[in-house]
Amino acid sequence: MERLKTFLRHPTGMIGLVILMAVVVLAVLAPTLFPDDPWEMVAAPFQPPASEGLPLGSDMLGRSVAAGIAYGARVSLTIGVASTLAALCIGVTIGAIAGYFGGKVDDLMMRITELFQTIPGFVLAILLVATIGPTLTNVIISIGAVSWPPLARLTRAEFMRLRGREFVQAAVCQGQAPMVVALRHILPNAISPIIVTGSLTIATAILIESALSFMGLGDPNLMSWGLMIGASRTVIRQAWWMSMFPGIAIVLTVLAINLVGEGLNDTLNPRISRKARKA
């Protein structure tokens, strides 16, 4: 409760939260606001913003840009959250095992992690999607597969830090199983930085998804912001609005998530007091 209050007093964090909630509301209400399928050609092509029934104009096939942005919000948020959850599962598991057991196990886990870290994440994501095919699930898997190493390293560091603490030693001495020690005693104390990094991972995931769709490697059956920009990039001289509005949507969403992440960091990290930060 105390922390929630701190967060609510965090100015940039609150700005982020408000924008993010607006995007979430837009995503949830998309079918109500725009009953037509976003792919439906509802108007004449190349209609500028503020035309009849088209607040943000129409694209080259006469599809509503506004509807595309609303439905694109669903895709971006779904992929951002789902792939971050996937990355958390992999990253936290590997990091926890490495940090808890140390030694040879740690070496092995970290070498695997480093293997992934040496390959540029986006290139690997392109490769994965191109190989296993661009569907929603595959895009989530691919982004998850390239996003977990930082989470693994962070979790490992936290686990190593807490592994030697008295309360953990006490639990071990009581004969509790490693799994129980890790989940009940270490993880709750390590969770704050993981939550912060996880929230920022969502932003990165949304960016990767947009970039994949921009390159035509997204699921072609889903209207997403990256796809909208990629499709209208070539007509930018005739119709700026087709790529501009989805671009703004991406910027706002990613910015909002980053602000929220920063706010969470300041709130959850006991070593940064708000007063100290202000001084």
């Binding site: 399928d37 050609m41 096939l61 005739q238």
Partner: protein, 529 residues
């Protein structure tokens, strides 16, 4: 400076960056003779020898270097090329060509009937699938004197005279190629032909520089001094290059279709879609006839009714073309316009699907069909999205599948697809460019542009076969009309559009598009003013 101008400046900087060679624009002003034509080649061809490689850019550029016996007017009637006259025997078995005197190759050697016989029967037979299809019907090829070539066919083949354009039958020098490994011949780099322009320099990644062939046999040709084909990989830079006059001519898809309406209105440019009559690109929705429910003719008819092809033409192809009515393009010989009409009607489509027993489920979907999106750029992607929306309205749910070039060709040619779109050239005659997609003898797994849809109708097979060997045009028309009526009723594939590609050119240019092969022709008479 507003945003648009700023963007323009950036693009311009990109386009100018490819320069470094003199531009001939100013030099050409007000001159009839001489001048430099700058144009675009996209993508850069791997080789310039058209006898060995028939990719689009090779043919466009190679047409200036290599000539053939004939040319064709817009109605596909033969005109003199290297041959000044020709005769066909009454039994349609013997074709005699008389060459112009004094034709020389770029290395100064005279071009004789021996070179023609060698090109047709040796190098093209081994390296050019489309030419092989026609020339394998030759029984004997003789050169009784240096200016006479006589071909005797095994049996009549009506479109034989349609196969002597420079993209099908380029004539190469025998003395350079005979007895060598054609593909490894070092002379390939020099590209020695007999056309009005010869290769001066090819800077990979930058430009191909052609200059006048002084020994050209036609008086007063070529008019231009030189032609420079510039390699500009980025489509926005190509448009800017044209807009700024850096290049004075674009062809095929050099300029993206959505740029055409804007560019064609510019005061210094003019646009024509003539010059593609020989190719007559025909675009259709390919339907795998082997798989249910697509094996039912009513389903395929429903697909035809469900697609608003006029809207497709206007929205995605910017009106460049016309709605296709059947397997034969209206530009090709023996087109039949009196066939069943499929005007846009979702109601008729739904009625046909209901009749088949394909009832919509609770979510409104009758059937879900995967659709391979051809990986050839935006227009194809937009077309796929358009088709998905059109078919969704009648309850056919298309699932678009993105795929790379190799994967598309592999799946498509091995029949591992349900639907996709494809564009096929017709080459002037249904026997050359249409029958291959529908006759059952051409159902060949693994081969692109064969009968991939798996359509098979013995009556259609028979009509195609008889039309190809019939000796009078009336008889051929009769067969082709009959088979077009049958096929339009059965809808082996859903024909969408006949595409017109735009040639955008500087207003001062004259005589650019004079024949049915358009920009592939020699450009001997092209001039500025």
């Amino acid at each position: 400076m507003n945003r648009r101008e700023f963007t323009k400046l950036g693009l311009l900087a990109g386009a100018v960056g490819i320069g470094g060679i003199p531009l001939g624009v100013t030099r050409a002003v007000g001159q009839t003779r001489g001048g430099t034509l700058n144009t675009i080649i996209q993508p850069e061809p791997p080789i310039l020898v058209t006898a060995l490689n028939q990719q689009q850019p090779t043919l466009t550029l190679g047409g200036k270097i290599y000539e053939s016996l004939l040319r064709y007017d817009f109605d596909l009637k033969p005109l003199p090329g290297l041959a000044q006259s020709w005769e066909v025997s009454p039994d349609k078995l013997t074709y005699t060509f008389k060459l112009f005197p004094n034709i020389t190759f770029h290395d100064g050697t005279p071009l004789t009937s021996e070179d023609v016989v060698f090109s047709i029967t040796k190098i093209l037979m081994e390296n050019h699938a489309r030419a092989r299809n026609t020339f394998s019907r030759i029984d004997k090829a003789e050169a009784p004197d240096p200016l006479t070539v006589v071909f005797t066919l095994k049996k009549p083949f009506a479109p034989f005279l349609t196969a002597f354009d420079c993209t099908t039958a380029p004539i190469v020098p025998k003395h350079i190629y005979e007895g060598t490994d054609y593909r490894k011949n070092p002379a390939n780099a020099k590209a020695i032909g007999s056309g009005p322009f010869k290769l001066k320099e090819w800077v990979r990644g930058s430009h191909v520089h052609l200059v006048r062939h002084e020994g050209y046999y036609r008086p007063n040709e070529p008019v231009l001094d030189e032609i420079i084909y510039r390699v500009i990989p980025d489509s926005a830079s190509r448009s800017v290059a044209l807009e700024q006059g850096t290049v004075q001519l674009t062809q095929w898809t050099d300029v993206e279709l959505f740029e055409v309406p804007r560019l064609s209105k510019l005061p210094n440019l003019t646009m024509t879609t003539k010059g593609y009559e020989f190719f007559a690109p025909h675009t259709w929705l390919e339907i795998n006839n082997r798989i249910a429910p697509m094996n039912d003719k009513r389903f395929r008819q429903a697909v035809m009714y469900a697609i608003d092809r006029k809207a497709l033409l206007n929205r995605i192809y910017f009106g460049l073309g016309k709605v296709a009515t059947g397997p034969v393009s209206s530009k090709t010989k023996f087109y039949e316009k009196d066939v069943k009409k499929y005007d846009f009607s979702p109601e008729k489509a739904k009625a046909l699907l209901d009749e088949m027993g394909l009832k919509p489920g609770p979510d409104g979907k009758r059937v879900t069909i995967p659709f391979l999106v051809p990986p050839y750029g935006e227009t194809h992607q937009r077309t796929a999205e358009f088709l998905r929306q059109s078919l969704a309205r009648v309850g056919i749910d298309l699932q678009l599948q993105g795929i790379d070039v190799a994967g598309w060709a592999e799946k498509f040619s091995n029949w591992d697809f349900s639907m996709t779109t494809t564009t096929v050239y017709q080459f002037g005659d249904p026997a050359l460019g249409v029958s291959r997609s529908y006759v059952s003898t051409n159902i060949r797994k693994g081969i692109l542009f064969s009968n991939t849809c798996g359509y098979s109708n013995p009556e259609v097979d028979r009509l195609f076969e008889e039309a190809a060997v019939a000796t009078t045009d009336d008889k051929r028309q009769e067969h082709y009309s009959a088979l077009q009526k049958i096929m339009v009723e059965e809808v082996p594939v859903a024909w969408l559009l006949e595409i017109d590609y735009p040639n955008l050119m500087d207003k001062r240019l004259k005589n650019v598009i004079t024949t049915a092969i358009g920009v592939h022709d020699t450009f001997g008479t092209v001039s500025f003013g």
